[in-house]
């Protein structure tokens, strides 16, 4: 893969929400390198805090976190920033929670661990969706 192919016209702002800090950090590095503006949050409350300081186009939300259930976080996110598109990250086999998330307004879900390529594609799809309204 080359870095040019993934760069969008306007930088897409992505908020990564995952209590696995190592994952958030490395993903942040790789996405930043590809021209995304990345915000990091290791919990629901950190995500809400980040949202209060800055707007994001897309949020990547891990459904399985220690402090708060991902679906609860999703509900709050949708209230705080209704136009922000949320992509859920789930463990394998927890499709039910993902379906529930989509019912609550999430855009789509990815099974973790996922390929970076697929992730970026999903983010761009989501962004397009946001632009189209």
């Amino acid at each position: 893969m080359t870095k040019t192919e993934n760069v969008p016209a306007a930088p897409v702002r992505v908020l990564l929400i995952d209590d696995e800090l190592g994952y958030v950090n490395v993903l942040s590095n790789r996405l930043s390198k590809r021209g995304f503006i990345v915000g990091k949050a290791s919990s629901g409350s950190e995500a809400f805090q980040a949202l209060r300081q800055q707007d994001f186009d897309v949020a990547l939300l891990d459904l399985k976190m220690v402090d708060m259930d991902g679906l609860e976080v999703l509900k709050v996110l949708k209230k705080m920033a209704p136009e922000m598109v949320v992509i859920m990250l789930t463990g394998h086999g927890s499709a039910e929670a993902a379906h529930e998330g989509i019912r609550l307004g999430a855009y789509d879900y990815l099974t973790k661990p996922c390929e970076l390529k697929g992730l970026i594609e999903k983010i761009r799809d989501a962004y397009r969706q946001k632009l189209e309204g």
Binding site: E20, G22, V26, R30, K33, K64, G91, H92, K112, P113
Partner: protein, 592 residues
């Protein structure tokens, strides 16, 4: 061997039950019957004895009265007439005629005898005037007693008779008035007394001579000995029983007459006296025998039924225990599987995150390597190769955790559209590890563009895994090939699991789908797997068959109907589908 032992056990059980019933039922019947019979016998005997005694008393009285009467007449005659009058033959004849008129010829004759024994006057049918009785036994006794009744004797006239006499005195010398009593009439008093069939009466004197004619043979001497032993003199009446030399029992009722000079005897055979009782006894015996027979038959029938019931219950129990054991084994295995699955799922989840981080970190290094100017580095190529390897192996980890998670997924019996190719590949993959150890090659072979089958994903997986596992078990030692196939067959999808293992013996072929039927060693198989498969396939309207020959492998065929709409639409877009072979993508991909 075991069956024989069981048979013996039930036989002895039957015997014991029959014996207990017989003892508890027949014993009281017999005891009560005997008791009642004995009580009845005692009371009946008492009654018979009483009856005989009453009869004896009555007859003794009538004989006493008869004799007293005769004596009275003579005494009256002697008292009211003087010696001079009575010794006149004409007057005596007159008196005799008066007596006869009054007493129906009981009196045979009349005579007046002086103290020397000379018959001074005589009235009667015989020529006995002036007969001298001196020296006659009766005279010796009569002359010494105020009144006298002699024993029966033949005397001068040669016919049995007896004498009644009264002693009077004239001028200091005794004389007697004697009358002969007609033996026949006296005899009638006794002889006509009949009791039952064999009962009759007779009179004996102290010497054991008959005073009446007995109607049957009687050994008087023997009887007298017996009576003396009894001490009859001390008792006025006696009823007793004696065994005759012929062996039959005879009842004797005795009564003394004339102050013990005579004995009146009524004798009757015991068999006759107790004939009613014997009849009753026979009836009771027949009743006991019939009742016992009934009890024996009933006890046999009841016991047989009981034992049959017990053996049936035992069999059911054994079967139930067997089933329960197998079921509980199945439950335990299922439980084990579930907990292992949960454990695996937990581990897989935890591993997912670090693996994701590893992959991404490797990617990040790759990103950086591309950015910086490392062109001069000799090891750049080696770095890139190593990073790629890290990513590849990371992906492999990911795949393993995904499989583990899908294995541990909760059973879901919702009918969904299952993509066949994906399912077969997954089954092949899941079984590949075991297959590798047993040197077995698992292949999938299916037509392209098969329509999805409507079934529960977990249940279909269970069925296919079960068939594959059975094949693996069968070929564990020999190794070989297993082919998972899928093809269109009319409106149905035909799934096949074909192995080239040892096959199934034809005797077992018909039973492989029976619950609890297994040829695997104890503890290895529950015999439930294939019957569960059968149930699952039947539930979705499908069919499962097996074709096999000993030594030629086995083919399991599952036919699943696919709704016409989805089947035909797929078929139309595809035209005539050509069979294609896809060689075990799961295994080979991983080992690459």
């Amino acid at each position: 061997m075991n069956a024989e032992k069981q048979h013996k056990y039930y036989q002895s059980l039957l015997r014991n039950i029959v014996l207990s019933i017989l003892i508890t039922a027949i014993t009281p019947t017999v005891v009560v019957s005997i008791f009642i019979l004995d009580a009845f016998r005692v009371s009946y005997e008492g009654k018979v004895y009483d009856h005989l005694e009453v009869l004896t008393r009555k007859h003794k009285r009538s004989i006493d009265i008869f004799l007293d009467e005769k004596l009275m007449d003579i005494r009256l005659l002697a008292k009211t007439n003087r010696f001079e009058e009575l010794s006149d033959a004409t007057i005596l004849n007159q008196k005799f005629n008066e007596l006869q008129r009054a007493f129906d010829r009981s009196f045979v004759d009349l005579g007046v005898v002086d103290h020397e024994g000379r018959q001074i006057a005589y009235a009667g049918p015989f020529e006995l005037s002036n007969v001298n009785y001196a020296g006659a036994e009766w005279f010796e006794q009569a002359i010494n007693k105020t009144f006298f009744i002699s024993d029966v004797f033949k005397g001068l006239r040669g016919a049995p008779h007896f004498i009644v006499s009264v002693r009077q005195e004239r001028n200091g010398d005794p004389w007697i008035l004697r009358a002969t009593i007609d033996f026949g009439e006296f005899n009638n008093l006794v002889e006509f007394l009949r009791i039952g069939e064999t009962g009759f009466a007779f009179i004996l004197n102290a010497a054991g001579e008959f005073q009446t004619n007995p109607i049957a043979d009687v050994n008087a001497d023997e009887l007298m000995v017996f009576f003396k032993e009894l001490g009859l003199a001390k008792q006025s009446h006696l009823v007793t029983q004696k065994r005759t030399p012929h062996g039959s029992e005879v009842i004797y009722a005795l009564a003394p007459l004339r102050g013990g000079d005579w004995i009146m005897v009524i004798q009757q055979d015991a068999a006759d006296a107790f004939s009613d009782f014997k009849k009753t006894q026979r009836i009771v015996l027949i009743f006991i025998v019939l009742a016992s027979l009934g009890i024996i038959i009933a006890s046999l029938i009841v016991s047989k039924r009981l034992v049959n019931r017990i053996s049936q219950a035992d069999k059911e129990k054994e079967k139930a225990i067997e089933n329960k054991e197998m079921l509980s084994q199945q439950v335990i295995e299922t439980g084990k599987l579930a907990s292992v699955g949960e454990l695996a799922a937990g581990i897989a989840h935890e591993i997912n995150n670090p693996v994701a981080i590893m992959i991404e970190e490797a990617g990040w290094i790759q990103d950086l390597l591309e950015d910086e100017e490392f062109g001069g580095s000799e090891n750049l190529e080696e770095f890139t190769r190593a990073l790629n390897q890290i990513q590849t192996q990371g992906r492999r980890c990911k795949e393993i955790t995904h499989k583990l998670l899908s294995f541990a997924r909760k059973t879901d019996s919702r009918i969904v559209e299952i993509p066949i190719a994906e399912m077969l590949n997954e089954i092949a993959y899941l079984s590949s590890q075991r297959a590798k150890y047993s040197n077995i090659n698992i292949q999938t072979r299916f037509e392209e563009d098969l329509p999805p089958i409507p079934a529960s994903e977990t249940e279909m997986q269970q069925v296919m895994l079960n068939l594959v596992n059975n094949a693996l078990d069968a070929m564990e030692k020999s190794g070989g090939n297993i082919t998972l196939g899928a093809e269109r067959n009319g409106d149905d999808i035909l799934l096949t699991v074909v192995d080239d293992g040892p096959g199934i013996a034809s005797a077992n072929l018909a039973r492989v789908f029976d619950p609890f039927y297994t040829t695997k060693p104890v503890g290895k198989g529950t015999g439930l797997g294939l019957s569960i498969c059968y149930g699952i396939i039947k539930k979705i309207g499908g069919d499962i068959h097996v074709r096999s020959k000993k030594g030629e492998g086995a083919t399991f065929e599952i036919r699943i109907p696919v709704p016409r709409a989805s089947a035909s639409s797929e078929a139309e877009t595809d035209g005539e589908p050509a069979p294609q072979v896809s060689v075990d993508p799961g295994i080979q991909r991983d080992e690459a």
